[in-house]
């Protein structure tokens, strides 16, 4: 789950991680009012979208750049008018771009130095790791490639948490001293607390800056949250912006379906994530292009299966469907009933190949056969993939 920059700022404020002053605005009037609040400060207006590269992006209405310095409340309103409800295209959004619904009016900050600071869950050590570098404000992947010695990693003990000596180590690695070092230390401590308390999977600050007036500020943040932990963070769930997500995926999540939209034209519906990935792989192997990843899981009800089927049919790119089920938890007959219910509601305008195996398979096959629908059955995965690729052409 992603969040907007202004929401990241809310979390930073809550955990006392310093960031530039800012206000979010959803209209030119609000933008102007926000700018007035900061009268006297140098200000910047920033489009709020879940994507990077905003500064170098462009709007489809011709306005260039999603980040601008502003010199007055009037200019704040003017630029807000050119951004709000307009589509911003950046290197990360793809050509479709994203509609900008909010902007942030923030303090423009003079920078002495840009650092990189991130906290991640490290799979190898099964512990949080702090990654820090003096080379902030640029792609960390490039730094890792060109000057890996400038990246410092500290693995934190999963039960003891961040210790004072570890903070001192990182400060020393970054070459900080004096009051700035103290502030950095406090910031890091608070960031770590945020990371743990919010069940983050990743928290990346690039850049973390020092300023001529001696402040340490988080200038930009990218958050990742552990989906498994969201049940215990309703406040973070409330930050979800469904308009920034693929509408097919939003619909699927409403039924607790695990769905990821892709660009191909052969849809699949599978039980189990590994088998679902393998199904996408085998479709491609036989020359087709998968339209989606979809794991209905083992406990799926007939209603969820019907909903999944309808979401697939609602995708205009889809020209054929492969259902691949190996029932362990999943009951093949539940799948069969769900598919038939869906097909009867929506009709079945495209080829459907179904491969069933496992729990209650005989009943499932019988249900499909008796349905009167034009369903092609397959004996195994390879057979199923080949048949659907051939049918779609």
């Amino acid at each position: 789950m992603n969040i907007h920059e202004y929401q990241a700022k809310e979390l930073f404020d809550r955990f006392q991680v310093p960031s530039p002053q800012g206000r979010v605005a959803a209209s030119p009037e609000e933008a102007s009012a926000a700018a007035k609040e900061f009268a006297g400060a140098k200000l910047v207006i920033k489009a709020q979208v879940h994507a990077g590269g905003r500064g170098k992006g462009h709007f489809k209405n011709g306005f260039q750049g999603g980040v601008h310095l502003i010199d007055s409340p009037e200019q704040a309103a003017e630029f807000a008018g050119k951004m709000l409800n307009e589509t911003l295209v950046t290197v990360q959004t793809g050509d479709a771009g994203r509609v900008v619904r909010k902007v942030m009016i923030a303090e423009a900050v003079d920078i002495t130095h840009e650092y990189y600071l991130a906290i991640l869950m490290d799979r190898d050590t099964c512990a949080p790791v702090i990654v820090a570098s003096t080379e902030g404000g640029m792609s960390i992947e490039d730094v890792a490639h060109d000057t890996p010695e400038k990246i410092f990693r500290q693995v934190i003990h999963p039960l003891l948490g961040l210790q004072a000596y570890e903070i001192r180590k990182i400060i020393a690695e970054l070459g900080l001293s004096g009051d700035v070092a103290k502030q950095f230390g406090k910031t890091l401590k608070n960031l770590y607390k945020l990371f743990i308390d919010c069940d983050c999977s990743m928290l990346e600050i690039n850049p973390l800056v020092t300023t001529p007036d001696g402040r340490v500020l988080a200038l930009d943040a990218k958050f990742g949250f552990d989906d498994n932990a969201l049940y215990r963070h309703p406040d973070i769930v409330a930050m979800r912006d469904k308009e920034e997500e693929d509408p097919r995926e939003v619909a699927a999540s409403e039924y607790d379906l695990n769905y990821i939209g892709l660009d191909g034209n052969i849809a699949c519906l599978v039980n189990g994530a590994g088998l679902a990935m393998a199904t996408m792989d085998i479709i491609k192997h036989y020359g087709g292009e998968p339209a989606n990843f979809l794991d209905v899981g083992g406990g799926a009800s007939k209603e969820q299966v019907t909903a999944a089927f309808k979401i697939i049919l609602g995708d205009p790119n889809v020209k054929g469907i492969l259902i691949n089920i190996f029932g362990g938890i999943m009951d093949c007959n539940v799948i069969a009933e769900g598919v038939i219910a869906a097909a009867k509601e929506t009709g079945l305008p495209i080829p459907l190949v179904v491969r069933l195996e496992g729990n209650n398979v005989e009943a499932g096959k019988a249900t499909l056969a008796a349905s009167g629908l034009d369903i092609v059955t397959a004996d195994d995965m390879a057979d199923g993939a080949q048949k659907i690729v051939k049918a779609v052409g």
Binding site: A127, N228, A278, D281
Partner: protein, 298 residues
């Protein structure tokens, strides 16, 4: 010999009175598993399926029945606590089926398990099966959710992150007439109790296992680590498959652990490493057993 479990292993089920736990406890009983106890706090004194005593705590269950393995079917908010309770009761093998446990909970549980006598398999796993010698492999030990009938007792060890993809491999083997010593589902979470390498080592030391199928997916480097060990240490032929060649980078593909982080944990990169280490890589999921036959010389 099989590994981890055999037809004599005494199993208890934590969460036996939930619909999910109950359904699979019954299927395990039907399979011939020695299911000797259930644990649901507050339901102690009741019976499951008329014959299996239910206890309030794992300690009571272990003391009364001598169970040495536990299957955990407890919902995500309480599953970490269930694992720790089993560890505290001295359960030697803890198999956690639950999907959806917060990663930080597992981080803390894994640290706490260090130095204990408990081995954790999972979470978010289909469990472990050592097939029996009866009809449709009845009489073996089934911990978890795998369909029993697809198995056959034999000499191939199967280790996998994915449940349903394991069933594919097992079914392919059984249909070819080659049975399995033990099938271990290690699960799809990024932090788990047992990884591919742990299981390969056990298969390598097991007299009954003559060949191995290893199934992995994108995310993390467990498969690469296992392959590199196998190259120098494993005497038995291995066939492998890695799911997720078509997964887009940065997206979590269902399993919490299935996310491509960098260049090294794509399916392609992993397949290459496996091949370099002498593991026969199956190009498609439908050829896993066939690939093993080729490298095994059958």
């Amino acid at each position: 010999m099989a590994i981890l479990i055999d037809e004599n292993t005494k199993v208890l089920v934590q969460g036996i009175t939930g619909s999910f736990g109950g359904k699979h406890a019954q299927l395990s009983l039907d399979y011939g598993t020695k299911l000797v106890a259930g644990v649901t706090p507050g339901k102690g004194g009741q019976k499951f399926s008329d014959t299996v005593p239910i206890f309030d705590t794992v300690s009571q269950a272990v003391n009364e029945t001598g169970a040495t393995a536990s299957a955990i079917f407890v919902p995500p908010p309480f599953a970490a606590d269930a694992i720790l309770e089993a560890m505290d009761a001295g359960v030697e093998l803890i198999v956690c089926i639950t999907e959806g446990i917060p990663v930080m909970d597992m981080m803390r549980v894994k640290e706490a398990l260090k130095g204990s006598k408990s081995r954790l398999v999972g979470p978010n796993c289909p469990g472990i099966v050592t097939p029996g010698l009866g009809e449709k492999s009845h009489g073996g030990c089934r911990i978890g959710i795998a369909p029993g009938y697809i198995h056959k007792r034999g000499n191939v060890g199967v280790v996998s992150r994915s449940g349903t993809l394991t069933y594919e491999a097992v079914f392919q083997l059984t249909q070819m007439g080659y049975g399995q010593s033990t099938c271990v589902g290690i699960g799809g979470d990024p932090i788990n109790g047992t990884n591919h390498l742990d299981v390969l080592k056990m298969f390598n030391d097991d007299d009954e296992t003559e060949a191995i199928i290893m199934i992995g997916e994108i995310g993390g480097n467990a498969e690469a680590e296992a392959a590199r060990w196998a190259k120098d240490n494993c005497k038995k032929p291995i066939a492998g498959f890695i799911a997720g060649a078509t997964a887009p980078p940065g997206r979590r593909m269902g399993h919490a652990g299935a996310i491509v982080g960098g260049e090294d944990d794509t399916a392609e990169a992993k397949k290459k490493i496996l091949a370099e280490c002498g593991i026969a890589v199956s190009e498609t999921p439908s050829d896993m057993a066939k690939t093993l036959m080729e490298v095994w010389g059958k």
